[in-house]
């Protein structure tokens, strides 16, 4: 019997070692991987996301919690392929656009998204449309997330979306975010969603995956 409330709490407090220990215990006890993932990690990250959205937690606390989540996930990962985890929500490819090397917001989105049960491929910064396309094919992406901090680089988001729309990859959806981005800019460039912050982005992804 695993005390998921306790595991969620360790995750919330960013106690990586404790999270690792409890995840390992759960595996050793033969509990299903998908249950540990959803009840232990995803549920914990959901609480964290809500508290981040409502200014109860801030960036430093989310970073250490995300680090703890990753430690737990690292232990689960080898088993994920074995056990056919039914709850896999979707494949997300994410990156900061060309000319822009700012990534802390993008990293938060990446961690939260992974913590919400998505398969996430973080391409890093300074990504061209060719690189987004290559990754979209390679990982069979459902949604692409693009980030920009600079007003000088945000127009490139439209370039990427246009390139996808005029290709065989036109079915892939786009979510954009970053300090200067807002809902109307996202709509203007033809994105399918706007992520105001890391937690809201997960909500947007969830609704896009249902569509």
């Amino acid at each position: 019997m695993i005390d998921y409330a306790q595991l969620n709490q360790y995750l919330y407090e960013g106690k990586a070692k404790k999270v690792e220990e409890m995840v390992q215990e759960a595996i050793d006890a033969g509990i299903s991987i998908s249950e540990v993932l959803s009840e232990g990690l995803i549920a914990g990250m959901a609480v964290l996301g809500e508290d981040f959205k409502h200014n109860i937690l801030y960036v430093p606390e989310v970073l250490i919690a995300a680090r703890a989540m990753k430690s737990g996930l690292k232990i689960l990962k080898p088993y994920l392929a074995d056990e056919n985890v039914k709850d896999k929500k979707g494949v997300i490819v994410i990156g900061t656009v060309k000319g822009d090397l700012h990534d802390i917001g993008k990293n938060l989105v990446s961690m939260m998204t992974e913590g919400a049960g998505y398969e996430v491929y973080d391409l890093g910064v300074d990504q061209s449309y060719e690189q987004f396309m290559e990754a979209a094919i390679k990982y069979n992406a459902d949604i692409i997330g693009m980030s920009a901090l600079l007003t000088t680089t945000m127009p490139y988001m439209k370039t990427v979306i246009d390139k996808f729309r005029n290709s065989d990859l036109s079915h892939i959806k786009f979510v954009v975010g970053g300090a200067p981005i807002n809902e109307s800019f996202a709509a203007e460039i033809g994105a399918d969603g706007y992520g105001a912050d890391a937690a809201s982005t997960v909500d947007v992804l969830n609704s896009l995956m249902i569509e």
Binding site: N55, L57, P60, E61, I64, L101, L150, T151, T152, A196
Partner: protein, 369 residues
């Protein structure tokens, strides 16, 4: 009214003929404007705060009332190109930058692997009093002090300089874990920069423009409680050190983003001027700020560079600058300025429209009751 008098009167909330102006530019925007006006391009200074002290000839000609000064790298320890092929530069702090076209981005954080207080103590720190560090400041003061208000820039006071040295994610995580080396780092950087600030005040600065970013577009980056615990006492100490040199020094603080929960705290520890009032940051509405803090604080900034200046029309810019002067500058107590350096994405006519708006509507806007 001389520019200097206009600034000092505004900061004492006395009547002025229009709000004083302090624009700063990225080198690319400065180049464009210089070409447009047919004046020689002034090379930027070698300083972490280069944009705030460079191109002052151009900017005073356009109508700036303030002149920025700052410490530069000492001539015997300048920022150098260490990797020509990859365009990597290293400054005297050991920070490495890569040029990615319109701006420099961090390439290597020298304290990325720091784990102990000893690592901080053993690091090769810049000497605040290195030979030549204040030469550029002295020249600028000699040239401009009679006519213009001198603003000593110290905007990356210790939090930002620390994240430039350690990397932001590690710094924030180690801080949340209350690792001792983080506080040792803050104190080390704070002492160096406080010495620099004191020297610039002693040389004749009218305003010290300190700062560190604590806000994001949507709210505080760290919790107000953590800020009160870690940062407030240190900033209070810096302010008291500055006032030991000149009790009448006006102190400004720059923090990008939304910092509503800590504005009152800043007023309490003796802040005079809040900058940059980032217009699109949540909760930083000018009427809210003027109504709630206008008696305690002057404002500096407030003109949007995320949408208005780069993408607005000349008419939109003029009417928005007029509107914001009317709110933030009502009565007095306001330095009108873009919320950050004007970037290369802003057309020349938009920059000129900003100045024209202040000249044309400044007096009318701030005297409206």
């Amino acid at each position: 009214m001389k520019p200097r008098e206009r600034v000092l009167r505004a900061l004492n909330r006395e009547p002025v003929d229009r709000p004083p102006i302090f624009v700063t530019l990225t080198p690319e925007a400065a180049k464009k404007l210089s070409d447009h006006l047919g004046v020689p391009y002034e090379e930027p200074y070698d300083s972490l705060l280069s944009t705030r002290m460079s191109h002052m000839g151009l900017l005073t000609r356009l109508g700036n009332d303030c002149v920025g000064i700052a410490a530069t790298s000492p001539p015997d320890n300048p920022t150098v190109l260490i990797d020509e092929e990859n365009k990597i530069y290293q400054n005297e702090w050991g920070m490495q930058f890569v040029n990615v076209g319109l701006y420099n981005e961090f390439h290597k954080y020298p304290l990325a692997h720091c784990t102990s207080v000893e690592d901080i103590e053993n690091y090769d720190w810049p000497d605040p009093f290195a030979e030549g560090r204040f030469d550029a400041a002295a020249e600028l003061i000699a040239k401009y002090k009679d006519d213009y208000a001198i603003v000593a820039d110290l905007e990356t006071s210790f939090f930002e300089t620390s994240w430039y040295l350690m990397g932001m994610e590690k710094l924030l995580m180690d801080m949340a874990m209350e690792e001792e080396h983080v506080f040792a780092l803050f104190d080390k950087v704070m002492h160096i920069n406080t010495e620099i600030g004191k020297k610039l005040i002693e040389m004749g600065a009218d305003i010290i423009w300190a700062g560190d970013d604590f806000g994001t577009q949507r709210g505080m980056m760290i919790s107000p409680d953590m800020w009160r615990d870690i940062f407030k006492p240190r900033i209070k100490w810096m302010f008291s050190e500055f006032r030991k040199v000149n009790p009448d020094i006006k102190i400004a603080w720059h923090s990008c983003g939304s910092i509503v929960p800590i504005i009152e705290d800043f007023a309490e520890i003796g802040l005079d001027i809040l900058n940059p009032i980032q217009p699109l940051a949540e909760g930083m509405e000018p009427d809210f700020l003027k109504d709630n803090y206008g008696d305690q604080l002057c404002f500096f900034g407030g003109i949007d560079i995320q949408r208005l200046l780069p993408h607005g029309t000349v008419d939109e810019i003029k009417s928005e600058v007029k509107r914001r002067m009317g709110i933030l500058g009502k009565g007095s107590g306001y330095i009108v300025a873009p919320a950050h350096n004007i970037q290369d994405d802003t057309p020349v006519e938009n920059i000129l429209a900003f100045y024209e708006a202040v000249f044309e509507y400044g007096e009318e806007a701030i005297s409206k009751v």
